[in-house]
């Protein structure tokens, strides 16, 4: 099982095999339940070699997160052309995102679930990636407002919240699409575009939803 067992490969190749095995194991078992024994076996090497190349379970996990975060952001970047209109950029980015997460579910589990669930060294690693994406989306929102000749002075915090909500919805939909048979990356992206972009357009038309008077309310 796993990689075909062949001896004496150059270090770089072996390292990638180990990371493959680790991503798969961490993604399916979870960080803590994954044992170095299992990872080594799946990689087709002995445990000491894993330690020789990757130092510790924590370092191995961090290396997984870094590799997969880079792969995901690069997939999204490669799917977007910055010269197109903002809505098209978002559409292309979302499609690339859902496609990548669908094709690498273990990697997505590592990034979305495992890394967030196990304390600071790891969560921070993913937060960096996420902030990059949120910044990208924030930029698109601002550009869209400008393209629509609308008031570009959207309160900064509000835009941040919107971008956060959009990214959160995307992340959630990725898990949903992975778990629901028959949902393609294209459909997931379309759903989110409908949900979000139309909402934003409406908002910018000057018809935001407004909360009722909070006067007599107990909570919130």
């Amino acid at each position: 099982m796993g990689a075909v067992k062949s001896k004496r490969m150059p270090r770089a190749v072996r390292e990638q095999q180990m990371l493959d095995a680790a991503v798969r194991t961490f993604g399916q078992r979870g960080y803590m339940a994954a044992s170095m024994d299992e990872i080594a076996e799946l990689a087709g090497v002995s445990k000491p070699l894993v330690y020789l190349y990757l130092n510790s379970k924590e370092d191995l996990f961090t290396a997984c997160i870094r590799r997969e975060a880079k792969a995901l952001t690069e997939a999204v970047r490669a799917g977007v052309r910055r010269e197109l209109p903002a809505d098209r950029q978002l559409w292309d980015g979302l499609r690339a995102f859902f496609t990548h997460t669908a094709q690498h579910p273990d990697a997505w589990s590592v990034l979305h679930l495992q890394a967030r669930t196990h304390g600071e060294p790891f969560a921070a690693e993913v937060t960096a990636m996420r902030e990059e994406i949120v910044a990208f989306v924030t930029g698109l929102i601002v550009v869209a407002a400008r393209e629509a000749h609308r008031d570009p002075d959207l309160p900064e915090r509000e835009v941040a919240g919107l971008a956060e909500a959009l990214v959160g919805a995307a992340e959630s939909l990725a898990a949903w699409a992975n778990a629901t048979p028959g949902i393609s990356a294209r459909q997931a992206a379309a759903t989110l575009m409908n949900f979000a972009w139309a909402g934003l357009g409406n908002l910018m038309d000057g018809h935001p939803w407004s909360p009722p008077e909070p006067v007599h309310e107990a909570i919130g």
Copy 2:
């Protein structure tokens, strides 16, 4: 430390103390890193008593998830009056949701992170709760369409996707609000209402965003 140590209490009370300690420990340490020793000590009882009442670590974790899922759904239910208009129901429900997650961060960590991160017995437990909420939101969307006298024949899968996205965005915003100082439950709810409801309204006005022609595209 933890609960005041007092002997001979009725079983029901002791069980709640144990669950309190377990939710706190699971929420802060994570499911696997939490040790039964620590939970027992925090609950102020001996370890065998925890086993006597709650059987195993898995059962204890499941009991935590059930209790907190119930508490959350009841908090949301209590915040909503079904006779009000759909948008008001959503607004009230979101406020109740963000308020509860802000007040019980360990419980939210258990439901949102830990339970999802650790395999099937637990993820299913949370999925049940989530489906209840998604169903509620789906109902609101359908009602809203009817109230707006729009075509009530929105494709079912599309509505499901929208509800999924809304709930995902809410979950994500709950974590964001907990982590970002100065974001109140009210603000989080308003952000999401702006984002979502406005978008939905626009969608139902017959101006959905539509994807470009997929003909020549490689992915998706």
Copy 3:
């Protein structure tokens, strides 16, 4: 082998059994080569119990050193009556020392060899004991000088060196006596008394050995 295996003993008793096994194992195998497995088996308990009571290998080793250092100093103290003349005190102390080290060779190995060989936390523990003994001997030398009505103003550093040499010789002889069949504690003590006390007496008679002129010498 080792203690008779009997279940459910009070903690204090079990702890002593563990220390017995540990002293024996550390004394014979050495600190690093001794495995916690072997110690636990020799003590007739499972490994987790050893950790429950004694925390770690380092703590266990420290506990051994402390117990045996205390036992040795108390054996020496119990053998000496402070109202007797200095030479008699030294004689009694040496006999008690050699008797104890002969009867507890593993303990002596732990104190004399193992503890000194493995870094600061442990060496310091033994140094404390040793300093107590050196101080005792130093006191005897000073008293002896006074009793002999000799000049009591022996340079302090010189006395310290003499005491150090005496104690070092004793330690070395203890190993020699343990390894040489037919050497009793009594004989070891007599040898050292002859060697040391007589030398000291001569020294105090004003006939110290004096080094040749160092003028043309290359080393030292």
Copy 4:
């Protein structure tokens, strides 16, 4: 780090570099804590080369002991001229001994601590060296008795014990001098000469210390 890395040197030179590194590492870390990795790195060679030249960790350690034992005995031998009087020979030998141990503390640690602490193959190696020195000292004692025209029929075992005590004191003082700032080899040697030689002189003058009657004593 360590030796400058240069390829293709004659075997004898490389072996000495390895032994240098090994003595330093064994002396500072201890036999078991020293890793072959560290030794190889300090020697500036790859691990397989160490094995090629020195077979195993045990053999390497033995080689260290042999080399350093030889160096020490040769240093002492070179410091002594056999045609001088016995006391002068002892004085010169001690000075050479303390000088050498002070200049090679790692080697002394290997011989005095590490070799003795780790079982039979190694302790025996050091015992051989020690016996040579004890024999030398024994000879000096006998000669001294003859020179003093005293009874040359000292019981053999007694002389052996005296020599043993002298050597043990010297070993102990070497560690003490190394650890106590400001104690020169010369001072250490003088202290021991005062302590020992004077005592022996007194003994041979017919005034040995004699033990009290053992009649009513419990131990020894």
